[in-house]
Amino acid sequence: MQALRWIVLLPLIGAAINLTIGSRIQRSVGRAAVAVLGSGIALAAFAISLTGFLRLRSLEPESRLLIDTVLPWLHVGTLDVSIAFQLDPLSAVMVLVVTGVGSLIHIYSYGYMDEDPALWRFFGLLNLFLFAMLTLVLGDNILVMFVGWEGVGLCSWALIGFWYKDRANTAAADKAFLFNRVGDFAFLCGTMLLFWTLSGLGHATLTFRELDTAAALLEGQALWGVPVATLATLLLFVGATGKSAQIPLYVWLPDAMAGPTPVSALIHAATMVTAGVYMVSRLHVLFSMAPLTLDVIAVTGATTAIFAATIAVTQHDIKKVLAYSTVSQLGYMFVALGCGAFAAGVFHLVTHAFFKACLFLGAGSVIHACHHEQDMRRMGGLRSKMPLTFWTFLISTMAIAGLPPLAGFFSKDEILWKAYQHSPLLWGVGLATAGLTAFYMFRQVFLVFFGDNRAGAVLDDAHGGHGAHDAHGAAAAHDDPHGHHGHEVHESAAPITLPLVLLAFGALTVGWLGIPSALGGSNLFTEWLAPVFAAAGEHHGAEHEGLELEYALMAVSVLVAFAGITLAYLVYIRKSLSADTFSRMAGGVPYRLSFNKYYVDEFYYGTVVAGGLALSRALGWFDKNVIDGVVNGAAAMVRGVAFLSGGIDKLVVDGLVNFTARALDGAGGALRLVQTGNINAYVYVLLIGVTAVLLTGAW
């Protein structure tokens, strides 16, 4: 299907226009033109994706695959890769999410960036990001996916550091980029290992469709005693931990909040960070062959989920809470993938894209209204001033907390159910995370929208490590160029509220696509993805085994969610429980650990960064003293040799040359006397010569 390429190319064209002549358009035609171009392109891509989806739906479930081969790309040795795009049920879901949520965020950006002079650059980069993300999602082989994979990293870097005049923002951007690079390197290694092994077996391919069948060949192959499938998938998963912010490479995501809020919503909540989940689902056949990797994924996901949730509980920055929440929810998705429930993971990805994008955009609306204040301790009571923002934020919060019948309930419960079937311990961790999620999300709602307005409150930062300062840095980053310093907070304009309403509607309804059979639904979503994951042996008949159990688990998770909400209510509304009692618990150690993010950043600074610096210092010393010594010694030696050689040159060689010249000169001087120029003289010589010859002959 030829149209597929346009889904990818349209955003590229939009980016090319906006990044080259965008500033001129903005100056001569107006800011709206730039925004309309950017958003229009995103909407057009969404429309094409929608037609592609409908086309796909009209096909038989087994033959749902559209391919658009654009160009042959690499044909080197056994490697044969084309720039080709494929639309199957899985990539269709992703494309719809990326372009759909992406379009809304484009529209939102026009409202949010209303005073920024470089609007054209913002929309150009957003379009470029869409291009890279869609390449990642639609690519029909690992290499095209990797191009997108790197592209989204680059756009993420450029957009986190969008307000590049502030050093903190560019530092955050660099941090994100470097952490991603660590993952990308592992991804590349995994890809190469895969290709190398397969080409050794005579089935060199990197195309997903062919990989699905060729993967079976990897059975029994081992490298250094480790099955190749396990090693390759582990490496690929390390790549996923970088992109999808899992332990140990998650620390860049909270810092990435330095970027403008639409960026956080689009890249660091809805789309890019889910790339790892998508990649694992895409290669599910391969991952299913490696039970060890799946276990590692499940454990990493669960650990990340609870770890990030405990951090989110104590953060003051409205965006940091959401960032840790994103890390936590991504952990959920990986739990699902690790349990082999790929469809459940992707389902949570989709619902999460809606409610988390809505939460971020809502937070952005609040930040925008509060003149770029991000500290929740300076907010409060915004419920009546920003009703639309409040209601959409509340709906999304209920969705993420897992209250029925909102989106998060269905996707989260499906994951918890699969986790329980896999291991009750995973389920327990997931359940605890769900409770924490409900608590910290409602804590946020209560702090921001209820109570009194605490704008301009003086904060006691005596105990607040550098976390609070980060928040201030980010808040001050924009340096309020608006000029309106009034404290009157009011509802945001239509470009901001419209996407909020639509996303909140999604957060409310998207879950209904996946109502499990236990609740009388037909789980349309899993059914839609069934052709893709059929090979993974995902059996949905198993659900009927313990219907009572499933009901019980649902009830427990809803109860836990309500418990979390109640706790937040008691602490932050009724104030019958003081937050201080919790923070002083056990000598305040748990609170300080959580508030300072378990000192993981400090740990990385102390080990990796300090280690790197120490190593570079040691290498510098080595360079200066040893390498330079060797080089200087060599130079001195060469100089000595050159001096000797110069002497010999001057005395012997030059002497010889000069002697030759002088000898020739003398000989010439002597011989020139013979050349008198007088013919008679020549004839004399001739005569004498001839006579001599004749006389000699006569003898």
């Binding site: 008198t676 120029g677 007088n678 013919i679 008679n680 004399y684 005569l687």
Partner: protein, 108 residues
């Protein structure tokens, strides 16, 4: 010597004449300062060689080869003197002199 002159003229007589001509020619070439004189000396040398060829041909057994060569020499001498005179004329135009003692610009 005079009595002998009444006897038949033989090869040696021709060779003697030719030798005398050669010596005269050489003397002319060596002593003349006038370039045309030098050329005339060269003519004498060439013709002494011609006499040699004819005489040896007449008294030898090589048929007419020598006489053919003599004809060649005559033609060659004509050409030589034509070119020689042209050269001398050219030198005169340039140098206003044909005195060989003054034409020493090729001196080393």
């Amino acid at each position: 010597m005079l009595g002998m002159s009444m006897t038949t003229v033989g090869l040696s007589h021709y060779l003697m004449v030719s030798l005398v001509m050669l010596c005269l020619g050489l003397f002319c070439v060596l002593t003349r300062r006038n370039a045309i004189g030098v050329l005339m000396g060269i003519e004498l040398i060439l013709n002494s060689a011609g006499i040699n060829f004819v005489a040896v041909s007449r008294y030898g057994s090589a048929g007419f080869d020598g006489q053919v060569v003599a004809v060649f020499i005559v033609v060659l001498a004509a050409a030589e003197s034509a070119i020689g005179l042209a050269v001398v004329l050219g030198i005169y135009r340039r140098m206003r002199a044909i005195d060989t003692s003054r034409l020493t610009t090729l001196q080393g």
